[in-house]
Amino acid sequence: MSKKLLLEKAHVEGIRYFDVYRREGGYRSVEKALKEMSPEAIVEEVKKSGLRGRGGAGFPAGMKWSFIAKPEGVPRHLVCNADESEPGTFKDRYLMEFIPHLLIEGLIVSSFALGSNDTYIYIRGEYAWIVDILEQAITEAKNNGFLGKNILGSGFDCNIHVQRGAGAYICGEETALIESLEGKRGNPRIKPPFPAVKGVWDRPTVVNNVETLAAVVPIINMGGDEYAKIGVGRSTGTKLISACGNINKPGVYEIDMTISVEEFIYSDEYCGGIPNGKKLKACIPGGSSVPILPANLLLKTAKGETRYMNYESLADGGFASGSMMGSGGFIVLDEDQCVVRHTLSLARFYRHESCGQCSPCREGTGWMEKILKNIEYGNGKMSDIDLLWDIQRKIEGNTICPLGDAAAWPVAAAIRHFRDEFEWHVLNPEESQKRNYGLAHYADPIHVPVA
């Protein structure tokens, strides 16, 4: 049983409400931070903890906080990115739905560290009922003196506002989120200037994921050094993984990043294996936009080492034979799943969600979807596969925001690892409509050259 920091109390009866949460030891970190620590000390503590952004990019949170510009007389803002829209990721929803006060607590401490008197939670529009939960939690915190004016007599004022998005994946990108928060069309801004210098209403802003901000609570409670001891290497602390797909026990799991991928999929503590005795074919380990991996490369790296559930190990081998931790949306595909169809549905998603601001992403995502549709429905040509490769290559890295990359990577990885399945679709247009390619050789051990 690995250590739980965030979800430890998630299933205590009534933890959603302030009284129970407080009784279970909640809001200790606020007392500690506001009474005993200076904002700089908190930032230092978060830096020491090695906490990495849980939204997908894995950028060290303490470092991000230290970048915030502090001009005289200009208010600063903390924005919580709760626009969790990545297909396969639902960890923030779980966190906010079950223990909203953990997020509020993390927000108060982080706001104090960053000097943000008005803190925003930008939540995706589809999480309509969670808005109510959060607002209730905020009111409760306010009534108990943890929000509002002069919190705990420290002289620090803080208000938290919940802002609903209108349901756009792109608004999870931090600059698009800021635009949307300002009431504009959610187009990503061109960086620089970065939000740390010019964010919401041109004021210095830090945008952090829900889980990152919630993780600040245990860091303050136990100390940064203690937190850094959990996990391995630069993957410190615990990570929420939302597992879904062909597994026996889909759900949100908190792991301490020391377990192997194999253990995560097959052990009863976590996913509990694949139903109906099927075999593992492929997996997307970090949310829809990270590269898909075939079973053999997922469980072992190209060098033949066991792959672990942490930032470094999942990225081992780069994009050629590795993937990314991403936002922790763990999607498992069994042998009955068709990778072409799967790639098509991702391409359709990215086409639908592209903001249309810059040309490669606007035009390229639609083009890829149309080609994939042809291949999937038996109208593909051999040259289409190379064309797909060329299109994704011309989108990747040439766009304003990472959505272009996110749209290109799944297609690139699918072709890189599952090219023969695409070719089979092209060569057997009729058969491919009736059955799928199956497991083929995707679970065979990879030949590792002797050094």
């Binding site: 756009a168 792109i170 249309g356 810059c358 040309s359 639609g366 083009w367 149309k370 040439n398």
Partner: protein, 373 residues
């Protein structure tokens, strides 16, 4: 260095120049000029906040600066990246840039209808120039191009959404020249469109400038629609005493008839500054209402880049230059060109004896038939 502006040394395609700090790579390259200047479809130096969207101006930064010589990992949009001291930039000397740019051109043309033969912008279209200069021969797109529901945006401006490349220039124009913007981008992704919400007509005094900033034929002048091709017209600099704007315009004449009035455009296709240093935007009255030569004081012919189709066959007989002569025989030892087919044998309108630039008014079949009689 309080008064003196700091100068940065920047090397673009092995040409080194000094520019003030804060200049973008694109503007530095424009100072060098020629092929070194990256093409720009969405950036417009006279409008704040434009650029970064079309990705045609991508360049490779092979050396970040003197202090931090690391190259930038990705290609950067030169219109929104400021130069650093000692920066080295590769534009046309970089394979990566040319490849990415050809890709962007293909993307831009993917859903473009390529209806140049019936488009009023043809001849002065930036997308045409871009695709000739940087594009590949054909497209690999085999699907239906997207279409849109038509929107009427008033008596002056014609919107062709299918041609739009979503550069957002017209949105910035309306934001910065008018009090209240009435049009904008609706929807997202490849079905994003320029439209008003809901069905309004654009009637601000300065809204006509969106026609000038549009790099393609998405926004064209309704009063000029299908009246003439730009290369049959003679651009003349002219001015009038206008109470609302500078009144400095280019008239597009044919004979004595004014077909179209636009702002004066510089070599980058942008509105030229007036002598007081402000961009020479013109008002709707000048643009749409004053279509008589007598309304204007004509200054003289406007200089047009000699590579532009607009400068072909201009002013023949009237203002002065001579007709271009056929040079094929002279350089080929008197051999005549082998033609597969002489267009004059089948065409009823394209008669060699009719000198198009000498006709007053639009050229239609009557002109040719009269000559036949």
């Amino acid at each position: 260095m309080s008064d003196q502006q700091q100068l940065f040394k920047v090397t673009i395609d092995n040409i080194t120049i000094e520019v003030p700090a804060g200049t973008t790579i694109l503007n530095a390259a424009r100072k060098i000029g020629g092929d070194v200047a990256p093409p720009a479809m969405c950036y417009y130096s006279k409008l704040e906040g434009t650029g970064g969207k079309c990705r045609t101006c991508l360049v490779e930064v092979s050396k970040g600066s003197e202090k931090d010589p690391r190259p930038m990992p990705k290609l950067v949009a030169s219109c929104r990246t400021t130069v650093m001291d000692g920066m080295e930039v590769k534009n046309i000397t970089s394979e990566k840039v040319l490849d990415a740019r050809a890709g962007v051109v293909e993307f831009l043309l993917l859903n473009h209808p390529l209806d140049c033969p019936i488009c009023d912008q043809a001849g002065e279209c930036h997308l045409q120039d871009l695709s000739y200069e940087h594009g590949k021969e054909g497209t690999r797109y085999e699907f239906q191009r997207r279409t849109f529901k038509k929107h009427d945006i008033g008596p002056y401006i014609q919107l062709h959404m299918t041609r739009c490349i979503l550069c957002y220039r017209c949105v910035f124009t309306a934001d910065q020249l008018t009090k209240k913007r009435e049009h904008g981008v609706l929807d997202r992704g490849d079905h994003a469109e320029i439209a008003t919400f809901i069905e309004k007509s654009l009637e601000n005094d300065f809204i006509g400038n969106v026609i000038d900033v549009c790099p393609v034929g998405a926004l064209t002048d309704k009063t000029f629609r299908f009246k003439n091709r730009v290369w049959f017209l003679k651009p003349m600099d002219a001015h009038r005493d206008c109470p609302t704007c500078s009144g400095r315009v280019t008239l597009w004449n044919r004979g004595d008839e004014v077909f179209r009035v636009t702002a004066r455009k510089d070599e980058w296709g942008e509105v030229e500054d007036t002598p007081d240093g402000k961009p020479g935007w013109i008002c709707n009255t000048c643009r749409f209402e004053k279509k008589k030569t007598s309304d204007w004081v004509i200054e003289g012919p406007r200089l047009i880049n000699r590579h532009s189709v607009i400068s072909q066959g201009h002013y023949a007989g009237k203002v002065g230059t001579h007709m271009p002569t056929e040079t094929f025989e002279a350089v080929n030892d008197g051999r005549k060109p082998k033609l597969l087919m002489d267009i004059h044998s089948v065409s009823e309108v394209n008669k060699p004896e009719v000198q198009l630039s000498l006709i007053d008014g639009p050229a239609h079949s009557k002109v040719f038939n009269q000559n036949n009689d």
